[in-house]
């Protein structure tokens, strides 16, 4: 049994400790907002927060999260940065297919926490790990600037 704290709730899960967090979230906890895109830390679709840091849940064994705080897209709106990002995402009409957007938002949330007023260069650095096959980058960039400017 591994104890996990996900979005403020505590869970005991009975899985192999080497199972990536992604599959524990999706299959065991039915939190399917976190997406599978590549399984090898290439695309960022699976980005979640582990103790406030953005991690690639597809390659991070669940054992590493034992007793730690995981936050997923389902709880993004629970803090001010998350709320601002979601609002900005709507105002810029960012998503197309939407599949990468959980990861984009989770990455953007950490970026804004570290750089409240990111430059374009900060956005390049902070967001280049997240692939969007639909090509929403221009809007992701605008929405991050917009969220940063919100009060």
């Amino acid at each position: 049994m591994i104890n996990l704290k996900v979005n403020g709730k505590s869970y005991n899960v009975d899985v192999d400790p080497s199972t990536p967090i992604l599959w524990v979230l999706r299959d065991a906890l039915e939190l399917t907002g976190t997406k599978f895109g590549c399984g090898m830390a290439q695309c960022g679709a699976c980005t979640v927060h582990l103790n406030g840091d953005a991690i690639r849940s597809c390659i991070t064994p669940v054992a590493r999260a034992a007793g730690q705080e995981i936050k997923t897209i389902e709880a993004l709106s629970e803090d001010a940065i998350g709320k601002r990002l979601q609002k900005a995402w709507i105002e810029e009409d960012v998503p197309q297919c939407g599949y990468c957007q959980s990861g984009q938002l989770m990455a953007a949330a950490v970026l804004l926490k570290e750089k409240p007023y990111p430059t374009d260069n900060d956005i390049d650095l902070g967001m280049s790990g997240n692939i969007c096959r639909c090509g929403t980058y221009q809007r992701v960039r605008k929405a991050i600037h917009r969220a940063a400017a919100m009060k």
């Binding site: 299959d27 399984g39 290439q42 695309c43 389902e74 009409d93 998503p95």
Partner: protein, 723 residues
């Protein structure tokens, strides 16, 4: 040409549906006939004037959308069309994915499906009529309620208003009465000046569920007792299982079953991770079949040889051989473009639950009818015992429109075999190596100029596979021995050349190929727009002016080209080290022109800006058009810079995003989109933005290096200046 292509695609899809399903599928059932359908909602609460709209007593308007949402905005643009004619309150409009039913067939395809950049234009009339019919019935219901002349009534944001008295009543309150009234055969549609939503940048209806994790893609479907399967498929196309041993797979905790299906061996487990570990542990012996020696370099030679043979004629005008004698300058070059994977962000997947008397499927698909009919065939059930739910699609680009329904049939076969609901999940490696690629295309092209620099002849040979030949589509899609999708964008060009000859040589099949966002135009535009640039250079002319000079017979394309040049400031000098390139292309009924601005930085090609002009006729949602153009630029640029599927010893060399690379945020150019005010027939927007990207960018690069890029993707040596 696009007209023709549309028609041929329509025809063949009708054929497919008939052949694949053994059904006679009705063509364009009148949506505005009174046909009350209740889809999962108690009838008393709703009024459904037709299959596409439902009005609730709570005033909610539900638009039932028969085109899959794969990012292109169908779940917003189609509701907009109905809501405008209905005078609905947009805040009360919802969408719902249509079930599979002939009433939801694509008006052109004759079956339910999404593709060919058609979703909006092909439904324009039907959805307007659906909305207008609803409005008519609500007006009639209000007239009866108040016992007044309908001509004294008007509608506004979900209410019927009696103008003389100022009384108003909500649509929801009229539901019961409206349901008793017979719909007229014809209704009057709005004047364009009265549009409230159409033509406005309305926010997408599907954004909220895509920013909080609640949207359900096929991958996210959860039904009681569902198991997960990962499938071992042949490592070489056409290969077969010779033998296998599943003992080690079964020893993995969580693995439940190992079963053989047509396309390979499925490892079924209580979650993705054990299923994947189980598949890794399978001991497989494959019979690799005839493609086990397939090799990209050898194929280049094979294609070059084929190019020398006489092909099927796609276009013949004038007399090329006499013109050759008159030409002052002659050019003869080869362009070679690789196989490409669609790589939608959401890897393929499908949930199936096969029971003795039913088969339920949840899938992000572009081809509902084909999938459902295939499932009926596999299970032996009647078509009405198969129920298919369309989920959100994490990208499509053509990959989810497959004529053999393979990603659905796999799930149906596994579920049938193990008698349990199952979700088949593809890994990214399965996707990249799974075939159904944009065909490799090898182009030989030559032209000659007269003394004034104008082209006298144009000779173009294309070698590529066909995904129609050898299938039931052949009869419709292949005309005079030419597969329309192989030569589209090349058989018709917007430039005046008096003597023209375009032909196609079919490359042998084997590697599964498919339509890939913009289909034939994804390669032909690169060649035509690259080569015309070469001719401009040879003629000593500005590439924009040279094109213009030859476009008198193509005023629409010319206008778009001129528009993009103005918007991009084509005549303005650039900072040192920057180059610009231009391209224009018509596909799917729309014309798109682009100007790209590039530089070379640290041995990389940097694309700074792409200016886009698009003429797609009537605009429904301008913001969606802009988003599609932005997305098309990324898609086209990704292919130009990185896209290649290649083979060695029969196997695909690439496997994931590290070696089948995608454009990323730090490489994103500024995309500046301009939509033309146009009276042209409505066209598509999902695909037409892809073809001009690569030629505009590579034409720009040429101005910096003096070297033509004729093979994609870009190679490091392409960035070095010509010495």
């Amino acid at each position: 040409m696009s007209e023709q292509n549309t028609t041929s695609r329509r025809k063949f899809l009708q054929t497919t549906a008939a052949i694949g399903g053994g059904l006679v599928i009705g063509f364009h059932l009148p949506a505005f006939a009174k046909q009350v359908r209740n889809i999962g909602v108690p009838a008393a609460e709703n009024f459904a004037p037709n299959a596409f709209v439902r009005i609730g007593k709570d005033n909610m308007i539900t638009v039932i959308v028969n085109h899959s949402e794969m990012g292109q905005g169908a779940y917003t643009s189609l509701p907009m069309i109905i809501a405008d004619e209905l005078d609905a309150d947009w805040n009360n409009v919802k969408f719902e994915a249509a079930p599979v039913d002939p009433v939801y067939n694509h008006p052109g395809f004759g079956m339910q499906g999404t593709g060919g950049s058609t979703s909006t234009w092909v439904e324009w009339d039907r959805f307007r009529n659906a909305g207008a019919t609803g409005r008519y019935l609500l007006l009639a219901a209000a007239a009866q309620t108040w016992n007044v002349d309908p001509s004294t009534l008007r509608t506004e944001k979900g209410f019927v208003i009696h103008s003389p008295s100022g009384r108003k009543i909500s649509y929801g309150e009229l539901v019961d009465k409206a349901a008793t009234i017979t719909a007229p055969k014809e209704v009057k549609l709005k004047d364009a000046k009265d549009y409230k939503l159409i033509g406005k940048p309305i926010k997408r209806l599907d954004t909220p569920e895509k920013i909080d994790g609640s949207g359900i893609f096929g991958m996210d479907v959860k039904i009681p007792g569902v198991l997960t399967a990962v499938i071992a498929r042949a490592p070489v196309f056409g290969g077969k299982v010779k033998s296998f041993n599943g003992d080690k797979a079964k020893a993995i905790p969580g693995v439940k079953e190992v079963v053989q299906i047509d396309r390979g061996i499925a490892v079924v487990a209580n979650g993705f991770w054990p299923a994947k570990l189980g598949r890794d542990a399978l001991e497989m012996v494959w019979d690799e079949g005839p493609l086990s020696t397939l090799d990209t370099k050898a194929q280049t030679k094979q294609y070059a040889d084929l190019a020398k043979q006489t092909g099927a004629v796609a276009k013949k005008e004038g007399d090329v051989s006499t013109a050759k004698d008159k030409a002052v300058k002659k050019f003869d070059v080869v362009y070679d473009l690789p196989y490409l994977a669609h790589a939608p962000m959401e890897p393929l997947n499908c949930v199936a639950d096969v029971k003795a008397d039913s088969c339920e499927i949840w899938v992000g698909t572009q081809f509902q009818t084909v999938d459902a009919m295939t499932a009926a065939g596999i299970t032996g059930l009647k078509p009405n015992q198969v129920k298919l739910h369309t989920t959100l699609l994490g990208g499509g680009f053509g990959r989810r429109a497959v004529l053999d329904a393979h990603f659905v049939s796999e799930a149906v076969q596994v579920s049938k075999a193990i008698k349990s609901p199952v979700k088949v999940v593809w890994t990214r490696e399965d996707d990249i190596r799974g075939g159904y690629y944009r065909p490799r295309a090898y182009h030989t092209i030559s032209a000659g100029l007269d003394a004034a620099g104008k082209p006298l002849y144009w000779e173009h040979n294309i070698v590529c596979q066909s995904f129609a030949v050898g299938t039931p589509l052949e009869a419709m899609m292949v005309q005079n021995g030419v597969d329309g999708t192989a030569v589209e964008g090349a058989s018709e060009i917007p430039y005046h050349v008096p003597n023209k000859h375009v032909e196609w040589n079919m490359a042998p099949n084997g590697v599964p190929t498919l339509w890939w966002r913009s289909v034939g135009s994804s390669h032909t535009a690169f060649v035509v727009e690259g080569f015309i640039d070469e001719l401009a250079k040879a003629a000593g002319k500005d590439p924009f002016e040279y094109r213009r000079m030859l476009m008198d017979k193509h005023p629409r394309q010319k206008k778009v080209l001129e528009y993009v040049a103005t918007k991009a400031g084509w005549k303005n000098p650039l900072p040192a080290g920057r180059g610009k390139g231009i391209a224009v292309h018509e596909s799917f009924g729309s014309v798109v022109a682009m100007v790209a601005e590039v530089s070379i930085a640290k041995n990389n090609l940097k694309v700074h800006k792409v200016t886009v002009a698009v003429d797609c006729g009537q605009v429904v949602n301008p913001d969606t058009i802009k988003a599609q153009m932005e997305g098309c630029v990324v898609f086209g640029l990704t292919a130009a810079l990185y896209g290649e599927i290649s083979f060695e010893n029969g196997k695909v060399k690439q496997r994931n995003f590290h070696d089948y690379k995608m454009l990323r945020m730090n490489e994103m150019p500024l995309v500046d989109v301009h939509i033309m005010d146009s009276k042209e027939k409505m066209g598509g927007v999902g695909e037409p933005g892809v073809p001009p990207v690569a030629p505009a960018v590579m034409n720009a690069l040429f101005t910096l290096t003096g070297k033509r890029v004729r093979n994609l993707p870009l190679q490091p040596e392409d960035l070095k200046r010509k010495v």
